[in-house]
Amino acid sequence: MARQRYHDGLALRQALPGRFLPFLVGAMSFLAALALAGGIAAHSLSQRWTHGAGTVTTMQVPAPDDPASRPATPAPSSGPPPTRIAVVLDLLATTPGIVSAHRLTDAELRALLAPWIEQTGEQTLPLPAVIEVRALPGHNPAPDLLAQLQARVPGVVMEHDSVWSDRLAALAGSLQGCALLAVLIVMTVAVCVVMAATRAGLQTRRQAIALIHSLGATDGYISGRFASRVTLLALGGGLCGSVLALPMLLVMSQLAAPFSALGDPAATAPMDWHDPLSRIDALPHALLWVLLALPPAAGLTGWITTQMTVRAWLRRLP
């Protein structure tokens, strides 16, 4: 059967030589692996940082024990008006997404403010009440809450402490965007390379193709022959790219370990260069899947691109 497969005159080993395409596809896969690794790392870092910093909001209520202003529709029972701090705590208790609202005690507050108070020497300074509000991750209750609060308790100040984690999340998000863009560009270039190689192959074998076309070879047969050759080459290239990317990623994960796994002694231990594979566990699982998926993805991209290129080219034949 080998004789039959390789004697249909297409001579694909000449048309699509076995070095050029695997080398380029391998380089693309390598770049794609690096870009995806960057995206995955940015994602996991942003997960850690946003969760660790939490979403803590500090709220200052000046003159906490003064009576609050009346709501727009006065309550029917007209007892003594509630204090401003009571109104704020009430509102916080009924706001969804808030895990806890802790009013700092006088002692906590004075400890917090000690450096300033001691400097001024003033002991009777009227202190605002300070409430530490913890919200569920991803919740930022501030915007709605503040409007409601200011209607009832003018002068309330809210300070969202997640500015840093927000900035880190934005940074991680844009890194992920860059990684995605890089992967898209790499894929586009890979598709163009496969297309150019296939076109060149078709051009060098155009007489043989015209002949077997006139002998009744279907478009599907010819495109299938080209596509299986390209798939094989792309698969090989993708495999090389993944294998070569692995040590690179191990080194990078070693360098990034202090940032991503603070306090995890295994991750920050120096790399054992005699057994580099022992570090594979330290790579995120998603990354290992990416490395495994790259060769088949390269093969599939090659197959689809070649099928489309060859079929379009064959349309010129009657």
Binding site: M1, H213, L215, G216, T218, G220, P318
Partner: protein, 223 residues
């Protein structure tokens, strides 16, 4: 069998191009041998390329072996091509395949068993007298030998329609006589054969119904 109705053909742009065929109508039943005559440039090769589905008529109706070609899908055309044999003026052998593989090519594309292919190739190559040149590459053969390889490749799969463009021009008289005898045998067995030539001597020697073209027009139809 094949039928042409009002067929025109022009190379390049069908409106501005010089017409190689104009308003040709033919109705040829299945089986039998026909000459295709006409001076150089008359349109013989153009007509044969339409019959062998290597060119598409610019206008008109073409029906080959019962298949309406102008409306047929690509897959149907590919299947139809496997029932049409064609010998070109320039042989069209693949220079990097040896004689055996060149002749075996149509059978391989039809996924025949290798043992059957070997048997058929040896038989046909014996018939054309080249059974001891199976390993040669086409450029190592003389013009007449290349022509016989091309003929062997065209008849090996027993096509229902065989078109041959000057198949005897590189052959000596004895070889040409052998070839025409083989064509007559195939025609008796039911193959429709059209052979283009401008060699009047050979036509007089082997009289048969003839189609004659001049400047792209059909001038005589003795079919």
């Amino acid at each position: 069998m094949f039928r042409l109705h009002d067929v025109s053909y022009a190379y390049g742009d069908s409106r501005t191009g010089q017409a190689a065929l104009s308003h040709v109508s033919l109705d040829v039943p299945q089986g039998g041998f026909r000459w295709l005559l006409g001076p150089s440039g008359a349109g013989k090769s153009s007509l044969l390329s339409i019959l062998s589905l290597e060119a598409r008529a610019s206008a008109g109706m073409v029906e080959i072996l019962g298949v309406p070609v102008m409306q047929a899908r690509r897959g149907a055309l590919a299947r139809l091509r496997r029932r049409i044999g064609s010998v070109h003026q320039d042989f069209r052998l693949l220079a990097d395949l040896n004689v055996f593989d060149n002749v075996a090519l149509p059978l391989r594309l039809q996924h025949r068993a290798e043992a059957e292919i070997s048997h058929e190739v040896h038989a046909i190559m014996k018939w054309v007298g080249l059974e001891n040149r199976l390993d040669a590459l086409p450029p190592q053969l003389s013009g007449g030998e290349q022509q016989r390889v091309a003929i062997a490749r065209a008849v090996i799969y027993r096509p229902a329609l065989l078109v041959a463009d000057e198949p005897t021009n590189a052959l000596d008289e004895r070889q040409a006589a052998r070839l025409l005898m083989m064509f007559h045998r195939l025609a008796e067995l039911g193959t429709t054969i059209v052979v283009a030539t401008h060699n009047d001597a050979i036509v007089r020697k082997y009289p048969a119904p003839a189609i004659e073209l001049a400047r792209g027009h059909l001038v005589r139809d003795y079919t």
